[in-house]
């Protein structure tokens, strides 16, 4: 029998997904350790979360302290610390968001007990040596000056100012003065308050003996925060169009978005489906129009992002400078279309299947599964959220999509920032 290649093979829909909860241990009333034990290989990972995001302290300090965590103690230089971690085959990275900071350590299981001791000593004894501070600030300043040459950076910075307009600490952005007059004393004070008394969460992945969790808690538990930190309850964006001119740019970066809710809102899940349809997969409305039909851009995407108490929605792209207005018109046209026409059922069915497949993938393996868990845990939800998600994906109707588009995607509610 010859194969009929024009006919697509039968596909099966995903009915349910198995979500695995990590083992949870109390460090104190406010702080927990989450452990994913079933790991089919020798890899291991530890993440320390701190109440040390960019909204804390004087502007810039949170980022500097985060960058200096391994910069040396009274008896060890930064090079010695790095050498010790490297000798044990360890990798590490750290970073901050608005609401938190994280330090991540990766390595092989056999080396982990030694690795966490080196890490503990390095952070506990952090001395803020003056030459290390000077060096970090000089190199951060260079990066900042390079960033100023990027339209993506300029647009992102402008967007942050407009998006979080109602909130001083979320909207503030750095400038050259941020790199002046930074003293080791203020870095130390920040570190004392937000790291040594600011640990909010510990996560561990690795096929360890259960006793190892005690060791992790003993090692880092002393830094646990006494009570859960407070975050801004809400925010609102400054609406309108804002352009940042960059003379020599070949492309214009666009950021279009607004303040939204997080997972605790009853419309959150349905809005995710709308968001995917509009701009969160390769076949989305925005990609189909602006890339595959007009060729304006290499890529365009819509996304949502969430904080402890609220969230935001964002459309991001880079287009040829001559197409800035055309691109905005087409984005608006796609949103209008979602408001004025019902989504064809075939398209919605495709999005359903795509989303379920992606959810299945994001629950695959201990690392992905932990991320999935933390995404809900941070907003005081639990894994039942995903079962509800599956249910909504299966049930949502075109009328509901249209209703949400009318409620949440109004051009007049957006902050529209362009740079180029």
């Amino acid at each position: 029998m010859t194969l009929n290649r024009t006919k697509a093979p039968e596909t099966q829909n995903i009915k349910s997904i198995e979500f695995v909860k990590p083992h949870v241990f109390d460090i104190n009333e406010a702080v927990k350790l989450y452990w994913m034990r079933e790991v089919p290989n020798e890899t291991a990972r530890l993440d320390l979360y701190f109440n040390a995001g960019s909204i804390r302290g004087k502007i810039g300090i949170a980022s500097f302290v985060n960058g200096l965590l391994l910069s040396g103690t009274s008896d060890k230089t930064s090079t010695e610390i790095n050498h010790q971690l490297d000798l044990l085959g360890g990798f590490h990275e750290s970073g901050i968001t608005n609401e938190g900071a994280v330090f991540s350590l990766y390595g092989l299981r056999e080396n982990f007990p030694a690795l966490i001791r080196v890490l503990k000593d390095a952070i506990a004894g952090l001395a803020f040596h003056e030459d290390e501070v000077i060096e970090l600030i000089a190199s951060r300043k260079q990066k900042y000056l390079v960033n100023l040459k990027k339209t993506s950076y300029l647009a992102q910075r402008g967007f942050q100012e407009k998006l979080f307009a109602s909130s001083e600490f979320y909207s503030r952005t750095i400038d050259e003065s941020t790199y002046e007059d930074v003293t080791p004393q203020e870095l130390k004070r920040f570190f004392q308050k937000y790291y040594l008394n600011g640990l909010t969460k510990v996560t561990l992945v690795g096929n360890f003996h259960p006793d190892f969790t005690d060791e992790v808690i003993d090692t880092f538990g002393t830094w646990a925060i006494d009570q859960s930190p407070k975050f801004e309850e809400s925010a609102s964006n400054e609406t309108g169009e804002f352009h940042i001119e960059k003379e020599d740019a070949l492309q214009t970066t666009l950021r279009v978005g607004r303040i939204m809710f997080n997972k605790n809102h009853p419309d959150f899940i349905d809005f995710q489906i709308l968001n995917t349809l509009l701009g969160d997969y390769f076949g989305s409305r925005l990609m189909t129009n602006l890339r595959e039909d007009k060729g304006y851009t290499y890529g365009i995407g819509a996304m949502t992002s969430e904080f402890h108490n609220f969230g935001y929605f964002l459309i991001a792209t880079e287009v040829g400078k001559e197409n800035r207005q055309n691109a905005l018109n087409e984005i608006k046209k796609e949103i209008d279309r979602l408001q004025n026409e019902l989504v064809p059922i075939e398209e919605l069915d495709l999005v359903r299947n795509y989303l379920l497949g992606q959810l299945l993938k994001s629950a695959d393996g201990p690392y992905s599964m932990l991320d999935l868990y933390l995404n809900v845990e941070e907003q005081n939800c639990d894994l039942t959220f995903y079962n509800e998600f599956i249910e909504r994906i299966q049930e949502i109707e075109p009328k509901r999509i249209q209703e949400l588009a009318k409620t949440y995607l109004n051009w007049k509610d957006f902050s529209i920032v362009s740079a180029g």
Partner: protein
């Protein structure tokens, strides 16, 4: 140890199966043995433009992405100077959808004039976004022709210039497909939780009737041995002076490749590496420095790149750079240093291989080099390397006559 099974279809397609029952997903990875090095110098950027067109529909299926998304899957691809790699990740139940789509575009393409026009525009925007509208974005466009005079590695995958993309015709595109996209020029790896009883039958069903192809001969000019220090200084509207040293190194299949890889780690992979300590921490000449290899199949490059500290000039920096190089050549590394480098390699390999897609891509890559089982032998090769090997290699390649230096000078 990564288990796999290999077989070759009558039409020449090499198939690798890697079963993993711990995942609900399956990966279908297809490596085509064609990259930017197979382009003619007058038509560069073609392998990559073509990769875009592969998503524009095939002979029996008008749309590639739709059916895959409908099966809960996603897909992407990349082009390098050596290869073009396509992958699909989808729930295991729907594996046939990926086999159906991938085999049809191996059979024959059916893109339209419009899809050529649009993808041309998309690639031009990609060119701008990645190479032209970024500070230091064009360094590889400058560094490649400095380091390579003859070999096609002298142009980047995106192409030498926008004009080549603008001038591509439908005829060129067809000829490219005919030449490079036959089954004998491809390696297919299916990884994940497929049905072990059925998989061979499924592969045969979708790929078996694709006509046999010949593997195109590849005759590339060998890059002549470099015999002079090449320095190019360019001025750009950037705030910080940057440097890119490119030392010629072995081709990928040379056993000494691994020695040079470890040498580059010792020089500048981590914050405890030789260059980082000497030039950044001790002398404070640079704000950033790292060393790595391009890992290309033909003769590759060992790169040392970074940025100068404020108020440091190139002359002062270069003097200390070469002094440090001489020290590396003169001093044998300690056993502890060797242990450290090997431990880092072990950790990275273990992390890399926990991802299903990585395993599938690596199996294809090693098969292309000659044997997919290379994936399981690599660590053994690294562990045989001695401090003496590194010392010898340093003396062999870390010389001015073997080096090209690109300096990006701030105009501000």
């Amino acid at each position: 140890m990564i288990q796999f099974e290999k077989f070759v279809l009558k039409n020449g397609l090499t198939v690798l199966l890697h079963h993993d029952q711990s995942t609900p997903m399956v990966v279908v990875n297809t490596l085509y043995d064609v990259g930017a090095r197979d382009e003619s110098e007058e038509k560069t950027g073609f392998a990559h433009l073509f990769e875009h067109l592969m998503f524009g529909g095939s002979v029996n299926i008008p749309d590639f992405d739709g059916p895959l998304q409908n099966a809960g899957g996603e897909s992407n691809a990349f082009t390098s100077n050596d290869i073009t790699n396509y992958y699909d990740i989808l729930p295991k139940e729907n594996i046939e959808t990926a086999l159906w789509l991938e085999s049809d575009r191996m059979l024959s393409l059916a893109f339209t004039d419009k899809s050529l026009e649009i993808q041309r525009q998309v690639v031009i925007e990609e060119f701008k976004q990645r190479y032209l509208n970024q500070p230091y974005g064009d360094v590889w466009l400058q560094l490649r022709p400095l380091a390579y005079r003859v070999h096609p590695y002298k142009w980047a995958t995106i192409g030498k210039e926008l004009e080549h993309i603008e001038q591509a015709t439908m005829k060129d595109v067809r000829a490219f497909f005919e030449k490079h996209y036959g089954p004998a020029n491809a390696i297919l790896c299916i990884a994940g939780n497929f049905d072990q009883e059925k998989i061979k039958e499924q592969v045969e069903k979708y790929y078996g009737d694709i006509p046999t192809s010949l593997k195109p001969a590849r005759i590339l000019p060998k890059e002549p041995v470099q015999s002079e220090y090449r320095v190019l200084e360019i001025r750009r509207n950037v705030p910080v002076n940057a440097f890119y040293f490119a030392f010629k190194m072995q081709e990928r299949r040379d056993p000494a490749f691994y020695i040079t890889d470890v040498l580059s780690d010792a020089m500048g992979r981590e914050k405890s590496s030789l260059f980082y300590i000497r030039l950044k921490k001790e002398l404070k000449l640079v704000s950033d420095i790292s060393a790595y290899i391009t890992g290309s199949i033909d003769d590759g490059l060992l790169i040392v790149s970074g940025k100068l500290s404020e108020n440091v000039d190139f002359e002062e920096f270069e003097k200390e750079f070469w002094k440090t190089i001489e020290e590396i050549k003169a001093e044998k590394m300690s056993e502890e240093e060797m242990t450290k480098l090997l431990n880092k390699i072990r950790t990275s390999k273990e992390f890399q291989e926990q991802g299903l897609l990585n395993r599938a891509m690596n199996l294809c890559n090693f098969e292309l080099l000659g044997d997919a089982n290379g994936i399981n032998e690599e660590l053994g090769l690294y562990s045989l390397i001695t401090a003496k090997d590194i010392e010898t290699m340093a003396s062999l390649i870390l010389n001015k006559e073997n080096c090209s230096l690109l300096k990006v000078k701030s105009e501000l």
